[in-house]
């Protein structure tokens, strides 16, 4: 009895002695988890998986993806915000990371998380939304569309991925920039929103280019303009709202990697460098090509600036929409 007690004492003492040494082991020394706060098959998931695969190759250390879904991404983001800042739990977030806390604020509820609980590491991709209308509608250009919307305020309808969702925000930024009023019909996700415009139940949709391209090619939808800084490569004839004189209508569906705030700087530096090499990998480029998603890599101060500007635009967008009173 005494002997076994002594044995355990030795074991505990041994562990205590080893622990600090373990803590100083080079990062990474165990598997890294990237949390995708949306279900498999969505943009976050489809970006996270090739990112994880490429990081694994660079770090020669296992990197896994976990889908922690719920409440439009809030569940997964909250999970990472409150996890240990040791570089082993990362988040692959989309623009909604800056919308959710702002919407929480709007409704006066305790926020699930705040933006400053995260340390931005790098931007992976940024895809501007484009404005599409059914091909049988009269509007040939964005100017036609905006003019008609001015003449008939609240009559032209659009579908979105959900209230305060990314596709809703894109349309609101345009509405504000062009001083028009459109009729919003929210759907539960980008998929149903696309189905709605293809069925002719709404008149317009702001969407990522990849999912609507086949329908544009098939002559079902017409692209009028894009929200990007530059024109979309696959649609060289479609102008940007910036060119048309609405510089405030700028919006991207982007994906970036974040760590919980408080992650040590050497670990962050290592992750930035890893991601920089990872996005140059052939396999990663191939995967993003298939998804027709352009790789836009920004890190450090550049990403922080992009993230802040985007968060400011979105926060303003949410405030302009305000609380939606039921009707």
């Amino acid at each position: 009895m005494n002997r076994s007690r002594a044995f355990w004492l030795v074991v505990i003492a041994g562990l205590a002695a080893v622990a600090p040494v373990l803590a100083q082991e080079p990062y990474p020394s165990r598997p890294i988890t990237i949390v995708a706060p949306f279900p498999p098959g969505g943009v976050a998931d489809l970006t996270a998986r090739p990112v994880a695969a490429a990081m694994e190759k660079v770090l020669k250390n296992p990197v896994g993806v976990v889908n922690k879904t719920g409440a439009a991404g809030a569940v997964g983001m909250q999970f990472v915000a409150t996890s240990k800042p040791d570089g082993y739990t990362l988040l692959l977030a989309l623009s909604s990371i800056s919308i959710i806390p702002e919407a929480d604020k709007l409704f006066g509820r305790p926020p699930a998380f705040t933006v400053d609980q995260f340390a931005p590491i790098a931007l992976i991709s940024a895809d501007p939304t484009i404005l599409v209308v059914p091909a049988n509608k009269p509007w040939k250009t964005a100017a036609d569309f905006i003019e008609d919307a001015k003449n008939r305020p609240g009559q032209i309808s659009y579908s979105s991925s959900g209230v305060y969702g990314t596709l809703h925000m894109a349309m609101e930024l345009l509405s504000h920039a062009a001083s028009i009023k459109l009729r919003h019909v929210p759907y539960a996700g980008a998929g149903p929103a696309l189905t709605a415009i293809l069925g002719g139940h709404v008149d317009a949709l702001a969407s990522g280019p990849a999912v609507v391209l086949p329908h544009i090619k098939a002559g079902k939808l017409r692209a009028l303009a894009g929200w990007g800084d530059k024109r979309v490569a696959a649609l060289p004839d479609v102008p940007t709202f910036k060119e048309l004189g609405y510089p405030d209508a700028e919006f991207y569906i982007w994906a970036g990697v974040f760590a919980p705030r408080g992650t040590p700087e050497p670990v962050l530096a290592k992750l930035r460098e890893t991601l920089r090499v990872a996005v140059g990998e052939g396999d990663f480029k191939g995967a993003m090509d298939k998804l027709e998603t352009p790789i836009v890599f920004k890190q450090g101060a550049e990403f922080a600036a992009f993230f802040e500007a985007d968060a400011r635009r979105l926060a303003e967008g949410v405030r302009k929409v305000g609380r939606i009173e039921s009707k």
Binding site: G154, P186, A210
Partner: protein, 510 residues
């Protein structure tokens, strides 16, 4: 027609090539497992396995994922019939009469009918998918929010036929279900409703934990509370097969369920879940002996099981013909195509004939594989009932908790299931039926969303439901149903429901 045949030959040449055959087989086996495990449905199964398909080519990945989808529909009936635990949401209706059959020693017959019904429905609906996909898909797209709302109202009317005995009690349970369905983020304004600060409740109460709790857990609790444990069933081998009468009773329900399921399945949205509910309601309405429903009517297994299987093929119609994500599962499959560089869209059939026809042919093969896989398994599964209850029930409980947790990795879901189990036990003791609660939970968010989207489209004008032809027609059918339902009130004749209620009263007095 000649072209279709030619294409089909191309399809079979792809589907019967060893690698594709292997992936179809793997998909079917995984799907059956996913369906058998309580709680884990096809969506969870496909989502979990999607990353594993990233290394395959597009045709193999799609064939395997589709195999999981329709395989789950076969497997879902197993636990429903044997233990009253819905393997996935679409099997809820099978729990009622399937389990009643099992308690009478007809578990083997119920399982066999479910498998054959699923096979007939699966195969017939692939024929429909092959021949009618493009025109049907265009029709399906015309289902916008107002049409969807009208369809769901029809589904709601079916509620009235679901329960035996007191209509008042059935409606009370349906209302409870609708109220539970209101929990979560309001999709139109972003307000949280009844979430009490629990972020997970923002998504509302899932159908899976509710169904597993109300049916499975309540059953386990009720059995544990019996003064003498029920006798362990020992079905003899010859009792495994359905009798001639049982075959005859299920032939028409299978046929009707197939057509109904396919038509409801093509409508974009999550309507496929209600296909089994609607089929059950229709069968009871058409039956000469509606009082047998709930007591082990074979039609109550055959109809819904066929409907949920053909609904899966129906759901592929808009997905393949137009590249439209017509529901959560097709959406995941479209994502899988995009990962492989196939852009789903209206040109898919023309640009990727190998993929489309290989897929169609693999579904014929897959359904056959599932039939061959499932019929012998009937004998194996029925043996589960021989396990003594002190061992069987705790293990089922463990599987329920694991299955419900696995869907979202959420402990909140497990708590919901446990609470629903307690509630289900209580309601059972008080003589309430719980199936209307599940339908209420399924319908409430869909019906509310469709109503409010319709009103957003029309700027608050209710006339939108009457000016659009499809929704007006559907609502008209609903009106006819209500009128028929009121007839006994006017003519003062007792319908079967009233007779049954009287009989029940007699039982209680005795």
């Amino acid at each position: 027609m000649a072209e279709t045949l030619h294409n089909l030959v191309l399809g079979f040449s792809i589907a019967l090539s060893p690698p594709i055959l292997l992936y179809a087989f793997v998909g079917c086996v995984v799907g059956t497992l996913v369906g058998v495990l309580p709680g884990v449905g096809p969506l969870a199964g496909i989502s979990l396995l999607l990353p594993a398909t990233f290394g395959l080519d597009a045709t193999r990945a799609i064939v395997m994922l589709a195999g999981i989808y329709y395989g789950a529909m076969y497997g879902g009936s197993t636990t429903s019939i044997l233990m009253r635990i819905p393997g996935e949401a679409a099997s809820v209706m099978t729990c009622i009469d399937g389990y009643a059959m099992a308690r009478k020693g007809r578990a083997g017959a119920a399982l066999a009918i479910a498998a054959v019904g699923s096979y007939v429905a699966g195969t017939a609906s692939v024929v429909g998918l092959m021949l009618l996909a493009p025109p049907l898909a265009l029709f399906a797209l015309r289902f916008g929010p107002p049409e969807y709302f009208a369809l769901l109202v029809l589904g709601l009317l079916v509620l009235a036929y679901m329960s035996s005995g007191s209509m008042l009690r059935a409606l009370a349970m349906a209302t409870l279900g609708l109220l539970l369905g209101m929990i979560g983020i309001d999709q139109m304004t972003g307000y949280f409703r009844y979430s009490y600060g629990v972020v997970e409740l923002g998504d509302g109460i899932g159908v899976v934990p509710v169904a597993v709790g109300l049916f499975g857990l309540a059953e386990i609790l009720a059995t544990a509370g019996l003064p003498t444990p029920p006798q362990v069933l020992r079905p003899a081998l010859r009792e495994l097969l359905p009798t001639r009468q049982e075959w005859r009773d299920s032939a028409w329900p299978i046929a009707r369920g197939t057509v109904l399921g396919f038509l409801i399945g093509i409508v974009p949205g999550s309507a496929h879940i209600i296909s089994s509910f609607v089929s059950y309601g229709v069968e009871r309405r058409l039956s000469k002996r509606p009082e047998e429903f709930g007591q082990g009517a074979v039609a109550g297994v055959a109809g819904p099981e066929s409907a949920n299987n053909s609904a899966t093929s129906g759901a592929f119609v808009p997905m393949l013909a137009l590249g439209v994500p017509s529901g959560p599962i097709p959406a995941v499959m479209l994502a899988a195509m995009m990962v492989h560089g196939v852009s789903p869209g209206p040109l898919l059939i023309r640009e990727q004939p190998g993929l489309f026809w290989g897929f169609i042919a693999s579904m014929y093969v897959g359904n056959l594989v599932l039939l061959i896989l499932n019929l012998p398994l009937v004998g194996v599964f029925v043996n589960i009932l021989r396990v003594p209850y002190p061992i069987l029930y705790p293990s089922i409980l463990a599987f329920c908790i694991l299955g419900v947790y696995a869907v979202n990795g959420s402990v909140v879901d497990v708590w919901i299931m446990l609470l629903m189990g307690a509630l289900g036990y209580l309601l059972r003791k008080l003589g309430f039926e719980t199936a209307p609660i599940v339908l209420g939970v399924v319908l409430a968010p869909m019906i509310e969303m469709a109503l409010r989207q319709s009103l957003a489209m029309s700027d608050g004008q209710y006339a939108i439901f009457l000016t659009r032809p499809i929704s007006a027609t559907l609502l008209g059918v609903g009106l006819v149903l209500i009128t028929l339902g009121l007839k006994p009130l006017v003519t003062r004749s007792l319908d079967w429901r009233a007779r049954l209620a009287l009989a029940e009263k007699g039982d209680e007095q005795r």
